[in-house]
Structure formats: C-alpha cells, structure tokens
Symmetry: C2
Subunit: 204 residues, 2 copies
C-alpha cells in the first residue's frame, strides 16, 4: 500500500474505499514520527560536537528504523485485517457461521491498532532520549516526532474501541480496552511532556 | 515530492537530506487529517439515513478536498522555502549581502508553517461539523482526523519558532509568533475537544 505515491495514498484515504482508513493512517503517522527520529540521529552522527553520544545515537537509529519498518508494515496489516471483517459484515444475519467468523475478524482487526500503539510507545521512549542527546539543530524535529507519535497512539486507540464495541466476547473486549487505555495513559502524556520540553527550549 | 511513493518519502524524511523535514511532514499529517474528513463525507453521501444533511456534506467535502490539496502543496512549499535558507547559511559570515538574504529566506521559510497552521485550523472547523452530521459508522475517523490536525498544527508551530528565533527583524518575529500562538491556543483545544467528544461517544 505504501508503494503507491503519497498523492495516491491520500486519494485512496479520502475516497469511500474500505481501506486505508483511520487505523492505517495512524500507523503511517507513527511511521512519520519514527522517520523524524531517524533524521535527528542522521543529523547527529559524525558530528564532533556530539562525539560523546555517537554509540547511543547508533543504537537509537537502529531502533527507530526497525520501529519505522514495523509501522510501515502495520499500514498494510490494518488493511489486511479489515477486509475479511467487512466481508463478515456482509454475511446473512442468520448464517450459522456468522458469530464465529465475526468474532475471529474482530479479534484480528482489534489486535492491529494495539500493535500500532505498542510500537509508537517504543518510539516515544527513544524520542525522550533523543531530546537529551540529539543535535540541538534538529531539536524541533524531536518535538514534531513526539506530537505525531501521540496522534498515532490516540488514533489507533479509537480503532481498538470500534472493534471491541462489536465483540460478543466481553472478556476479550475488556482485555483489549485495558491494554489500549494503559498505553494511552502512560505514553500520550510522556509524548506530550517531550513535546512541551522541546517547545520550551525552542522558545528560549 | 508527494509523487514519490510513501516508502520513498519516509526514507527521505529519515535521511539526513535537507528536505523533507518537520515542516513538510506536518503539512502531510494535516493532509492525512483532511483526507479522513473527505472519507467520512464519502461514507455519508448517498445514504438515506443522512438524507437531511446531504447538502451540508457536499459543501464540507468541497472544502476538505480543497484544504487537502493546499496542504499537499505546502509539503512542496516547505521544501522550496528551506533550500534557499540552507544555502544562505552557507554564505561567508562577512558577505555583504548575507543579512539581507537571510532576512528574506527566514521570512519566507517562517510563512509556510503559518500557512500550514491556518489551513489545519480550517480543517478542524469542518471536523467539528462532521462530528455532528457525518455517518455514525465513520465517527472514529473524525476523531483520528482531529488528532492528526492537532499534531500538524503543533508540529508546524515548532517550525514557525525555529525561523523566528534566527530573525534579526524582531517586529516580524513577534508578529509570526503571535499568529502561531493564537492559532495554537484556539485550534489545538478545539481539535482536542472534538477528539474527546468522539472518544466518549465511541466508548458508550
């Protein structure tokens, strides 16, 4: 899906087509945040002024690139999980297999935004470190990355809930919701804290 | 720039190349938000249940598509404004034209993120209306759009400040900063309010 041009991706998103939707867009938003983290690393590597932190920055960029790759794959995973679900909706209300098929589809479709959230949380943790160690010339980009990862986290959380809402297995629904709420509560505020710290430093 | 594949755009963003950076990424994030607004309109148009609001939705999608197009163009505009600035940095410190060239480049480079902010503000206003009138089946996407537009607004605001910080013309710097702060204060909180309303409705 990301092999399409950005213009084409945006056109598809804007259309009434089943995919991409808000879940895939959230994964892409997180990937933009991870990419900005990598950019800050690339602008810090090889600079004499930051000689002391080169090993840390090398470790961080290894992780931001890995997480960016995961988020890019989650754009497609979200589309792949949504398509069987939209077919399941189309089954006759009295089809004997309907409940079981729907249950499996909702389980799969809800798991993807949870993975998006977990992946964004890991990016946010690295951004906290980058805000301390990365090149001062790219500090604003750490802040932009943090607001994007927060948006991706919150967008994905909404996409967990649209699936759990329809689940008949309320134990699984509550488990997914508790995971989403836990990730939001911790990481949205940590992303916010990093973004605010960057904003304060830049306004000085 | 958006004619490149999404993967390629992300690779360029992650690299140490001068563009795209946090400003262009913010415009893209806003474009994703506007596209989600259009998607909600497309999922509402032609539906009997929403017969009463068809004219409103037609008006809204006309605007979200226009604003999306503007945000897509602002990705390129941000790159176009940054390149002369990065060349100006390279001028010898004692070059007689340096101050004047830098002043013009900073004025241009700071104006782009302000336009990104103004455009996102207009998308947010439309999302408020869509949260009321759009298809309930796509309500979560209105929320995702709102968190994206908020992130784009905040990311662009940081990019206003990195330019004003370097301006010798302090009157212009303060004018730009006042505009950015005014847009942030009003529209980040309105986007937040919309996102929270969606979240509350979806959790019911």
């Amino acid at each position: 899906m990301l092999n399409n041009s950005c213009n084409e991706f945006l056109n598809q998103l804007a259309s009434g087509a089943a995919v991409p939707g808000g879940g895939g867009a959230s994964a892409l938003c997180g990937a933009l945040g991870a990419a900005l983290g990598s950019m800050v690393c690339n602008l810090t590597l090889g600079k004499k002024k930051y000689a002391d932190v080169q090993a840390d920055i090398q470790r961080i960029i290894g992780r931001t690139e890995e997480l960016r790759n995961q988020l890019q794959q989650l754009v497609q995973a979200d589309a792949d999980a949504f398509e069987p679900l939209s077919k399941a909706y189309g089954l006759p209300k009295d089809a004997p297999e309907r409940d079981q098929v729907m249950a499996q589809c909702l389980k799969d479709a809800g798991a993807v935004p949870l993975r998006i959230m977990e992946t964004c949380a890991q990016v946010i943790e690295l951004l906290e470190e980058l805000a301390e160690k990365g090149s001062r010339l790219a500090l604003s980009d750490v802040g932009v990355a943090a607001v994007f990862c927060r948006a991706a986290l919150e967008g994905a959380s909404l996409n967990v809930y649209i699936n759990t809402k329809l689940m008949k297995d309320r134990a699984l629904a509550e488990e997914y919701e508790a995971q989403a709420d836990g990730l939001s509560a911790e990481w949205a505020s940590r992303a916010d804290k990093t973004a605010r710290a960057v904003q304060t430093a830049i306004r000085k």
